[in-house]
């Protein structure tokens, strides 16, 4: 890892974690190509039992890219670092990866698969379908989706934009909900 790389990473994760993440990266990268492909993620058995597992895998890959290198791998995982409450936000610096806004953006992108900046009804339906038990009928599903959009949609365009998304979750403690200990 060159110096620049490690400096960048140091901002978002500490060196000890980087080593562990790299070990993990190498363990996943069975063919030692230095890149991960969707199949490598697919080899993680437990992800298959996660309703949004495939979406999360997709989130690692930037649009159009087939592989993810270590840098991006860590960058995505850095979203889940608990926010640093101690240091005040420096307005001149770019938004840290693990700030509330960035975390919300990550969550938003899980829904918004076509990246048009809005969660359309169809996209919401897809997510709901994957997270609800199979007994739920299409009618019920659509009803839930309709009501969700109704509650959150403020400009009445039948889709949820990022601002509306953020507003609907203002009472939720995102930092707790989207943090993992090892990235502390």
């Amino acid at each position: 890892m060159n110096l620049w790389f490690s400096c960048f990473l140091f901002i978002i994760v500490t060196p000890a974690h980087i080593v562990r993440l790299y070990d993990r990266f190498e363990a996943l990268d069975k063919e030692k190509t230095g890149h991960l492909r969707p199949q490598d993620f697919g080899a993680i058995n437990r992800l298959a039992m996660n309703p949004i597992g495939d979406r999360i895998i997709g989130a690692f890959f930037s649009p159009g890219q087939e592989t993810v290198d270590f840098h991006s791998f860590v960058r995505i995982l850095a979203h889940f670092r608990p926010a640093d409450k101690k240091h005040p936000k420096d307005p001149s610096m770019p938004e840290p990866v693990n700030s509330r806004t960035s975390k919300l953006k990550f969550a938003f992108q899980l829904y918004d698969q076509d990246k048009d900046g809005k969660i359309s009804r169809a996209e919401l339906l897809q997510v709901l379908r994957s997270m609800l038990e199979m007994q739920v009928t299409e009618e019920q599903l659509e009803s839930i989706a309709d009501r969700t959009i109704q509650e959150a949609d403020l400009d009445k365009d039948d889709a949820i934009s990022f601002e509306e998304f953020r507003k609907s979750l203002e009472k939720v403690n995102i930092d707790h909900k989207m943090s993992i200990r090892f990235l502390r």
């Binding site: 199949q39 309703p51 969550a107 019920q140």
Partner: protein, 833 residues
């Protein structure tokens, strides 16, 4: 209810009537030999059997008490069961005392510690949610060790201070005695905590912290009790630094030693259950005997018996549940609950009875009130202090309300009473005062705190259920977050918090499974295999249900009816295939596959229009309610409610099955669309849905090709369990491209011709496949399981009905490719009845 009261009363009277002669006969002494003059037909044999008779009678009476107040549900809602039992104990004690003028029945410490407590602790250990327990072990240990020491020290010192100040009047005690008293009353009691918290249902982290603390603080309590007892014997002058250091060392020895004894016995139990395949009838008994022996062994070595028993249960549960037959497992579980619940009942009843005994009561208002006050205050202070420290290191800090409940939940109970009875009167002149105080404290905590716990929890809105009505978006999002976190932890290899767990899992899988589990059980640890096993069972039960719904299971053997339903449902194509299937696929019982297949079809009615009509009728439906009910719970939230009263059946497997099926299906679709570039996957999915279990296996077969064809199952953690399936699907991986290639080239051809050629491919390749399949066949699996997991390439030579039930499904699915109109996109994943 009056009838029951009456019967209880009668029983007690009988009891007394019986006990009086027994006392009388003991008083008059023995040796009155009866010289008989004629043959007695019936003899009154009370003297010989009175002891077991009384024991059994008391057990019966205690358990009947439970029955009595269950009849009045409003009462149980307000007062916790333990409190009610104590009240009934008072009543009974009053009756006995009134009749005998002396309390003949009391809770003896020996009985309590050796006959009543072990099963409660064993049950607690065996039913402990391990992941939660070990995940929070650090916090639990902090509370148990440091918290209890703090409680004991502060209480003892505060009482000593008050005694010096003269607030208590003239009692003959000293610093050491008060410290001893502090140490035995400081410990949170597991029996009381279980009894009260079980009815309150707080969130699981809070529960596990209080519960774990109550179990693990026994190590500290035992040490402190013995140390101070020894110090009192030695006298104050002899205590110097050496003795204190010895005391500290003894803590480590007692605590760690006790745990080790428990672990050793857990190993013994696991090894034993590995060999008891042929004596399943008595298998459950071993658990109890060895669990009890772990308790006694630790007690014999003067180590912490509760710790030993707890860790015995905690460590062995996984292995014995895997090794033993399912019936044995359920026997063990039920029997443990019976014993534990029964013991708890008896303990509380006798706690009540023992109070009605004027000989033990010495009333010193100041002492008692001060003790109560200090217990309360110092408990809260201790909890807040320790939590503040812990929160620096916890990811999810404990908030104020949780801390309040934790402080309030520091209940004292029978263990303290038992310990105080063990004191030697000669050394402790104020033993009676201590007994009285302990009883008052126990009653106060169990009854008052027990009664007010539920309202307090509700009032403070402790995190149990949602506080305010959350919006739908919030609810969905919360669940998404949970799933997200679980996924990220999995991807990142569960580093950090779970890094150790990962390492432990590797160690466990490599060594412990090999040592402690039968080969069959070892394989079933693979979570995917578990799902398959459960799917098989589900299949079997649904077949039976279907059969019973039709009147009898005779249909299974009825060959002639095989055609009808298929034609109706699937059109002519299938009937052409029927002869092929019928001739080839006779199961081992000569049960025609088609009839079995037919049974699995009707349960799914995918007629969307029928569905629509029904749904339009119910206009008003609560989307919130629906979400609440049907959202998948993430892995973290799996319900680990330890309940003394109910045996929780873990329903999470359904969820995992469904999610797994769906994921595999979507992977299959994406794989197919990538490979073939056609829309058919949607239709296949619709038909694959007809047969849930089969599609899983099939989807797994197909999708395994892109996923597992790369290299070995080298990486330890997630693939270790899956090493078997991966080998299986390497075989499949070789077949599939042939199949896929066929599909590509033969797409315009009628579906029928694809099948034979594909099967022909399988035949050709089967010779290559056979070695790798046989490699796994060495495992002694039951036939149905094995065949289920075997890929399709075995089908031509296998004569297993289940397997062959699968192949027509595939074929029918594929045969459907061109003809039927495509269902709507996305909505094609219809519904199940």
């Amino acid at each position: 209810m009056p009838a029951l009261w009456r019967s209880t009363f009668v029983l007690v009277m009988v009891l007394l009537a019986i006990s009086r002669p027994s006392l009388a006969s003991e008083d008059t002494g023995n040796g009155t030999e009866n010289t008989i003059t004629t043959l007695p037909i019936v003899i009154w044999k009370w003297e010989e059997i009175h002891f077991p008779y009384l024991v059994a009678l008391w057990v019966l009476v205690s358990w009947l008490c439970k029955l009595v107040f269950q009849l009045n549900p409003c009462l149980t809602r307000v007062i916790p069961e333990s409190g009610l039992l104590i009240c009934i104990g008072w009543v009974l004690g009053g009756i006995i005392y009134g009749a005998d003028k002396v309390q003949t029945f009391r809770l003896q410490p020996f009985t309590f510690f050796f006959y009543l407590l072990p099963q409660i602790v064993l049950d607690a250990g065996y039913s402990m949610p391990n992941k939660l327990f070990f995940g929070n072990l650090g916090a639990i240990l902090v509370y148990a060790v440091i918290g209890t020491c703090w409680n004991a020290a502060t209480l003892g010192l505060a009482l000593w201070g008050c005694w010096l100040g003269g607030a208590m009047g003239n009692i003959d005690t000293g610093l050491l005695q008060l410290l001893l008293f502090g140490s035995l009353i400081a410990a949170v009691d597991p029996v009381a905590v279980i009894a009260v918290f079980e009815e309150v249902h707080v969130n699981e982290v809070l529960y596990i912290l209080v519960f774990g603390e109550s179990l693990l603080n026994d190590g500290v309590t035992v040490v402190l009790f013995n140390v101070f007892d020894a110090f009192v014997s030695l006298g104050g002058a002899q205590i110097d630094a050496v003795e204190i250091i010895k005391g500290i060392i003894s803590f480590f020895v007692v605590a760690v030693g006790g745990s080790l004894v428990g672990v050793v016995f857990a190993l013994l139990i696991s090894l034993l259950t590995r060999c008891t395949k042929n004596i399943q009838i008595i298998e459950p008994g071993f658990i109890f005997v060895l669990g009890y022996l772990s308790y006694l062994t630790a007690e014999m070595l003067s180590l912490s018996a509760i710790l030993s028993c707890t860790f015995c249960g905690v460590c062995c549960q996984k292995y014995i549940n895997a090794n033993m037959d399912e019936r044995s497992v359920s026997t063990v579980r039920s029997t443990m609950k019976v014993f534990a619940n029964g013991s708890e009942t008896i303990i509380f009843v006798f706690l009540g009875i023992s109070a009605i005994d004027p000989s033990i009561w010495v009333w010193n208002t100041a002492f008692i009130l001060l003790t109560l006050l200090f217990i309360f205050v110092f408990r809260f202070i201790g909890v807040f202090l320790l939590t503040w420290i812990l929160n620096q290191y916890r990811l999810v800090p404990l908030d104020f309300i949780d801390q309040l409940v934790m402080g309030y939940g520091g209940l004292r109970g029978a263990v303290a009473y038992g310990l105080v009875l063990l004191l030697d009167e000669n050394k402790y002149k104020e033993k009676k005062l201590m007994i009285s105080t302990t009883l008052i404290v126990v009653y106060f905590t169990v009854m008052l705190q027990g009664i007010t716990m539920k309202p307090l929890v509700t009032w403070l809105k402790v995190k149990r259920a949602a506080v305010s009505e959350r919006t739908l978006a919030e609810k969905i999002q919360n669940r998404t977050f949970d799933h997200m976190l679980v996924a990220i932890e999995d991807i990142s290899g569960q580093i950090g918090d779970n890094y150790m767990r990962d390492k432990w899992n590797n160690f466990e899988e490599k060594w412990l499974y090999w040592l402690l589990m039968t080969p069959i059980a070892r394989k079933s640890c693979d979570p995917i295999f578990n799902i398959f096993h459960k799917l098989n069972i589900k299949d079997a039960t649904s077949y039976v249900k279907e059969g019973e719904r039709r009147g009898s299971l005779a249909f299974v053997r009825n060959e002639s009816k095989a055609d009808v339903d298929f034609n109706k449902k699937f059109g002519a194509d299938f009937s052409e295939m029927m002869p092929y299937i019928m001739t080839e696929n006779m199961g081992p019982d000569h049960v025609p596959v088609s009839s079995i297949l037919r049974d699995s079809v009707p349960s799914v009615c995918l007629d969307m229009h029928e569905q629509d009509l029904k749904m339009r009728e119910s206009e008003d439906f609560d989307a919130h309610h629906l979400l609440q009910q049907h959202l998948y719970k993430g892995r973290k939230q799996h319900r680990h409610r330890y309940s003394r009263k109910h045996l929780e059946v873990n329903k999470d497997e359904h969820e995992v099955q469904e999610i797994f099926q769906r994921t595999m299906r979507s992977r299959l679709e994406s794989f197919k669309s990538a490979k073939m570039g056609v829309a058919p996957p949607k239709k296949i999915s619709k038909h694959l849905k007809k047969d849930q279990p089969q599609k899983v296996r099939e989807a797994y077969t197909f999708s395994s090709f892109p996923l597992f064809s790369e290299g070995d199952s080298a990486s330890g953690c997630e693939a270790a369990g899956g090493s078997f399936p991966m080998r299986a699907y390497r075989g499949a991986g070789i077949v599939n491209p042939a199949f896929m290639a066929e599909m590509d080239t033969m797409d315009p051809m009628p579906p029928m011709q694809q099948i034979p050629s594909w099967l022909a491919e399988a035949e050709v390749d089967s010779s290559n496949m056979v070695p790798s399949q046989r490699a796994q066949l060495t495992l002694p699996w039951t036939p149905s399981n094995l065949r289920r997991l075997a890929p399709l390439c075995l089908s031509t030579h296998s004569n297993d009905s289940f397997l062959l039930a699968d192949s027509p499904a595939t074929q029918e699915g594929i045969s459907e490719l061109p003809p039927p109109p495509p269902p709507q996109d996305g909505q094609g994943q219809g519904t199940h009845k």
